[in-house]
Structures are given as C-alpha cells and as structure tokens.
Symmetry: C2
Subunit: 209 residues, 2 copies
C-alpha cells in the first residue's frame, strides 16, 4: 500500500485528477484509518480525525463511506487481507492449517483491540451493520471460495453447507477470544481441523495427520 | 426459584437466621439481578440497585460477590441453567440436537441483551474476568461432562479434545450472534452436529441422520 505524507491540503492528493489520484487518496485514507483504529479503537475513529490525519476532505470521506464504522471495517479488512489470505496448494487441510496459524497469531497480537472492536459493535446497530457488511461478509466470502474449490476437488463431501465450516473454524477461534476460558493456540486450531475432517465418531477411517 | 417481595427491611429475609434464610436471600438476589440484567444490561446492574430491589443489604452483596459483574453472571447462569440443561438419553447426537435447539431459541429470544453483555465485557477487564469465571467456565464444564460420558459410551473417539467441541458447537452459534451475516437457526446447529459427527471427508461412512 502506497503512503503519502502530503495531503490534499498540500496539493498532492487532490481528487478529480484522474483514477490514479483517487486510488492514492483511498489508500492513504485506509492506512490512516487502520492506524487510528488499532491505536484508539473503533469509537476513537471519526471522519474529522481521519480527514485531518490523511489530508483528505471530510466531503470525500462522506462520499465514499456511509459511516465512520464502514470506513473502520474497510480499513481493517484492507490491512489484514494479505496476512489472512487463503493459500491454495491443492491440499485443503494443509491450507486451512496455514491460514488458521496466521489468524491465531493475529488474534494473539492484536486480541484486545479486535475484541474491543467487536464488543463495540454490540448494542450499536450502525456499527453492527458496518461490521457485518464491510468485514464479516467479505471474509466469509473468501473462506467459502476456497472451501468451494476444495469441494470441487473432492476433498469435502457434497451436501456440506460450507458456511457452517466458517463458524466451526474461525468462529470457534473468535469464541476463545471473546469468551475466554481456554487457550487460543495453533494446537487448538489444528484440533478444530482434525475434528471436522476426521470426524468425532470412533470408527472414522480418517486418521489425524 | 423462590421469590419474596418482602426484603430484609421488612424483617422477612434477615440473614443470620440459619441456612434456609441465607438461601432465600441468595435466590431473591439472583432473581432480582437477572431481571435487572435482562432489562437494563450489565452496565445498569449495580450493588445499590440490586440491594434496594431485592431488599438485602449492600454488605451482604459485597460479602458474597467480588463485583457486580460476578453477581450478574452468576444470576445469568442461574436463570438459564434449566433451559440449557444437558439431557442424557444415552444418544449424544440426539441430546446435543435437543440442547442446541433450546440454546438457539434462547439466543433468538434474548439475542441483543446477550450480545450486549458479552460486548460490554470486551475492554473491561473486571467484567471479562467475571464472565470467564462465573459463566463461561461453568457452562463449558457442564458441556464437557456430557461429552465425557459420550466418549465413555463409545460415541466419541478417544483422542478428541472435548473442549474444542464446545467451541465448534456453542462457539459457532455465538459467532453468528456476535458477528452476524448468516441466520442462527436450528437447521444451522443440526448441520454443525452433522459436520462433526459425520465428518467433512467425502468417503465418510457416517450418513447424516
């Protein structure tokens, strides 16, 4: 992501100079918003603060995002999309293991901020809507895309509702973050994968790997 | 749970008159606290309010609970322990199905209050500690007890970490409550159970029931 210390005020990020400039402004805004979000939490993120720090006009922010929450979750999604990318080596268990290890590291590194963001969305319907639309739905879509390819490759049986797998892997990890009682480790996520792929029944033919 | 409209002030619930009276006071306090919690959320629950409404002294509350949060989560646990009890018919899939249907109904009936309680615990370390100790740990223990009997009965294979099943059933449902994007229904929890017991692999020998 490209950064610019100069804002619209300095004449370098004027919107309306064509496509490239608008992208620069958008990237600078997302970077600034993500920094604010991780430093001060979602309730510290206002259009005024982001506008001042990123050197963009508040008018631009209002035009591009329906609310500060929407900007916050777009920024959050954008910041971690590489860390949380879904690899595709052709082996779904291996790829889920890799991705979930990255996810656990992220939750352990930024856990209290992430928990605070999700916590703030409870009881604030605008923020809840922004979380759902601008983050949860986007992340679920990426996961289901990878799981769909696995099903097409014959690694997941037909008839499984792939959306439910999202809740039993990433949702299970969020559960340990938000309602803590047991450790949130890579051993834990490895076991989540084993439970699903090997199954819980005693006569399962799929040994844990 | 026994209720009394008369408080200590009316001379009916004086503590120190022996074991039965102390139990009455405790039950009246838990009922009052649960009502306050469901009506006003966890941040509206103070020792002063509970003392006044339940007719008990604040001194008694301080003696029995380390914090208002601890009282709140004890009250919450107590109020829903019958609704969320784990049946034991000897068939673990059937019993999990029954219990998860009750759980989903509870989440759909009181969803925004429950989400608000969990949300408030994020970023408030005292409340987070109370949630973990007085609610999450207690509920996990009950679930793992039932799962342990299922393993002993040969319905769950050896080697499965039973704690992880808690995250993949109840945790998965909390995920849809707290990070909404997909419906929280009994069809959903039935699929969670099928995924785990049947397994995701294509050549699984365990047909969904």
């Amino acid at each position: 992501m490209e950064r610019s210390d100069a804002g619209e005020g300095a004449g370098l990020l004027k919107p309306g100079r064509g496509r490239r400039r608008a992208e620069d402004v958008r990237n600078a805004t997302l970077t600034t918003a993500a920094e604010l979000l991780l430093a001060e939490g979602v309730q510290g993120l206002t259009f005024s603060k982001v506008a001042a720090r990123a050197g963009v006009s508040k008018m631009t922010l209002y035009k591009w995002w329906p609310s500060p929450g929407a900007l916050a979750f777009d920024a959050y999604y954008d910041t971690f999309k590489d860390t949380l990318a879904f690899p595709d080596t052709g082996d779904i268990r291996r790829d889920l293991t890799t991705q979930l290890h990255s996810f656990v590291e992220l939750l352990n590194r930024n856990g209290s901020v992430i928990a605070g963001i999700i916590g703030a969305a409870q009881g604030d319907s605008d923020l809840a809507e922004a979380l759902s639309t601008h983050y949860v739905t986007q992340r679920r879509r990426l996961a289901v895309e990878r799981l769909t390819r696995a099903r097409e490759a014959g690694q997941i049986r037909e008839g499984v509702d792939l959306e439910t797998i999202v809740d039993q892997l990433w949702g299970a990890a969020y559960h340990r973050l938000l309602m803590p009682a047991q450790p949130l480790t890579t051993d834990f996520t490895d076991q989540l994968i084993a439970n699903l792929f090997q199954g819980l029944a005693p006569d399962s033919p799929h040994p844990a790997t």
